[in-house]
């Protein structure tokens, strides 16, 4: 595997996909939206003086134990903030799905894949280039959005204990380890789907299904069935790493040059 070829592919992907409005929207606008939304909610709850009428006793019992020495208000605020963690996990799933599904099926529909495959580039180099091109913007956008959120939350003066929690290992692991793992899973899924379909819209829609497990997690957390604590996030990281390894292997196996070329319609 030659790094130079991967770099050439990544550069081309970025030069091309970022001229597409849909891709630009998902990379630039989506993180902005998913960062502004929780900040607006936090700001609203601060200025209204309550947190949606919730008190400590309204919180799930398992969550209350995470609050430690926090006051009731801080614990409620922390509960709100914790719900937003899922948003920062949605970003690395959606952004690469859009880019990767567009970049592979797009090559098929614009008939650029045949001259590309005729070059002395290996399948692994090609897929690595496309995967990096899709995953890196997603991860950077997620990290950037998290930084904006942390600073914004500080400015909006949520409790100092809550701010401290935003920088504890739970959150850092979620953002800096689980985020890239989720992006890798999303890219691998997009490659698998793109190798099998011939319409970028179908590819994108199918690739977006990777978000479903995360939505289930979100619902589980809101309903109190699940508590997103350090142990759960750690388990998520371990399981995701294993899933990623399987998905990457499957993506490489399913990307058959011949089938993609000869089954074009």
């Amino acid at each position: 595997m030659r790094v130079n070829k991967i770099r050439i592919i990544v550069r081309k992907e970025w030069a091309e996909v970022f001229k597409n409005r849909l891709v630009l929207f998902s990379v630039a606008f989506l993180p902005l939206l998913l960062t502004a939304l929780p900040l607006a909610i936090l700001y609203g709850t601060r200025s209204s003086g309550d947190l949606g009428g919730m008190s400590m006793s309204d919180l799930p019992e398992g969550f209350r134990s995470l609050c430690g020495e926090m006051t009731g208000g801080e614990c409620t605020q922390y509960f709100f903030v914790s719900q937003f963690m899922i948003l920062f996990m949605i970003m690395p799933l959606i952004i690469p799905s859009t880019i990767a599904s567009y970049s592979i099926v797009g090559e098929k529909t614009t008939r650029t894949l045949e001259p590309l495959l005729a070059t002395p580039v290996s399948t692994i180099e090609l897929l690595a280039g496309k995967a990096v091109a899709a995953a890196v913007p997603a991860v950077l956008a997620t990290w950037g959005a998290f930084a904006v959120f942390a600073v914004g939350a500080r400015i909006l003066a949520i409790g100092p204990m809550v701010i401290a929690r935003l920088l504890d290992p739970l959150w850092l692991m979620a953002i800096f380890i689980v985020g890239p793992l989720l992006a890798t899973a999303a890219v691998s899924m997009a490659v698998i789907v793109s190798s099998r379909v011939s319409d970028p819209r179908v590819a994108e829609q199918l690739s977006a299904l990777v978000i479903l497990p995360l939505l289930a997690l979100f619902i589980g957390q809101i309903s109190g069935l699940l508590i997103l604590d350090a142990r759960l996030v750690l388990w998520m990281a371990v399981v995701l790493a294993a899933i990623d390894a399987g998905l990457i292997a499957l993506a490489i196996r399913l990307f058959e040059r011949e089938n993609i070329l000869t089954r074009w319609k």
Partner: protein
């Protein structure tokens, strides 16, 4: 430069290429002719190491297909049926990208060389999507040549181009031959093949014929000489038929149509015989069969009709 032996490709139940055996020589333009669905593109894809043969062997530029595919890809250039350009990217970037993948040493130098050669230098910063069909085709040809391939595969290079653009592309292909490249040309344009190709293969799943256009004409039709006379006496048909080496004679209006193998040596004898018999010969000419005649005859009437 290209050798195939019993090269075969099957797609499930469909036999696309059946035991193709041919030899393309160094530096020649080799025409590969056949109707739609004949397996031309499949053959081209196999020879450029894009898809694998089901059976048979081939060597391209000295490398074995299926064993040294990356070496083959480095040494061949391919112009696919559709230009396949990145429409949002500039003409120059389209070429720079491929030059990088082909490991070209002087990327900018090569890009500039081919953009200038094909008259696209002034528009190098414009997106390929804004180009006319002819310009896109020229850009795709430039892409196929950036790494100075020994073998160039061209799939319908003038298809859909206006006459001026097609003429420019044809001239460019002829120039490439002058550089010593081997060119494997798939085309439907029989006139183009006749003008450009040193040898042609007529192909319809399997190889039907392979030779120079002139030799194929000769094999299928011999050579036909037309004697334009003031009048035709029916007895002259037998008279001419009696001259040695004449294969067939036919009277039509005020003409005698004579098929011979070697008109240069037989014509004087025919003329002497006709003049001695009292014929007034107004004009003698050779009836040239077109490559289309050869092609349609080789493919047979059913195929010819189904392909228009």
């Amino acid at each position: 430069m290209i050798e195939t032996h019993d090269l075969t490709r099957r797609f499930e139940a469909t036999l696309a290429v059946d035991r193709l055996t041919l030899d393309v020589r160094d530096g020649e333009i080799f025409g590969f002719l056949g109707p739609n669905g004949a397996g031309k593109t499949t053959t081209l894809r196999m020879l450029s190491a894009l898809i694998a043969p089901t059976s048979g062997t081939a060597r391209v530029a000295g490398y074995a297909l299926g064993e040294q595919d990356q070496d083959i890809r480095r040494r061949v250039g391919i112009l696919t049926e559709s230009p396949g350009l990145y429409d949002r990217l500039s003409a120059a970037y389209n070429l720079e990208f491929f030059a990088g993948l082909y490991e070209v040493d002087d990327i900018h130098g090569q890009v500039e060389r081919y953009l200038r050669l094909l008259g696209l230098w002034e528009r190098r910063h414009e997106a390929a999507g804004t180009f006319s069909k002819g310009m896109r085709q020229k850009l795709a040809i430039a892409r196929a040549l950036l790494h100075e391939p020994e073998v160039l595969f061209l799939d319908e290079p003038t298809s859909g181009l206006d006459p001026e653009a097609a003429h420019l592309v044809r001239e460019f292909i002829a120039d490439l031959k002058g550089e010593g490249r081997t060119i494997f040309l798939c085309t439907h344009n029989l006139d183009e093949a006749d003008r450009l190709c040193d040898r042609i293969a007529v192909f319809n799943t399997s190889l039907l014929a392979l030779d120079t256009p002139a030799a194929l004409r000769q094999q299928l039709y011999g050579r036909t000489v037309v004697f334009h006379l003031a009048r035709v006496d029916p007895s002259w048909v037998e008279l001419v038929r009696g001259v040695g080496s004449v294969r067939a004679v036919e009277a039509s209006d005020q003409r005698l149509i004579v098929r011979v193998d070697d008109p240069e040596s037989v014509n004087p004898a025919i003329i002497r015989a006709l003049v001695a018999a009292g014929a007034d010969i107004r004009f003698v000419g050779e009836l040239r069969r077109t490559l289309e005649d050869v092609y349609l005859r080789l493919l047979g009437p059913a195929t010819a009709r189904s392909n228009g």
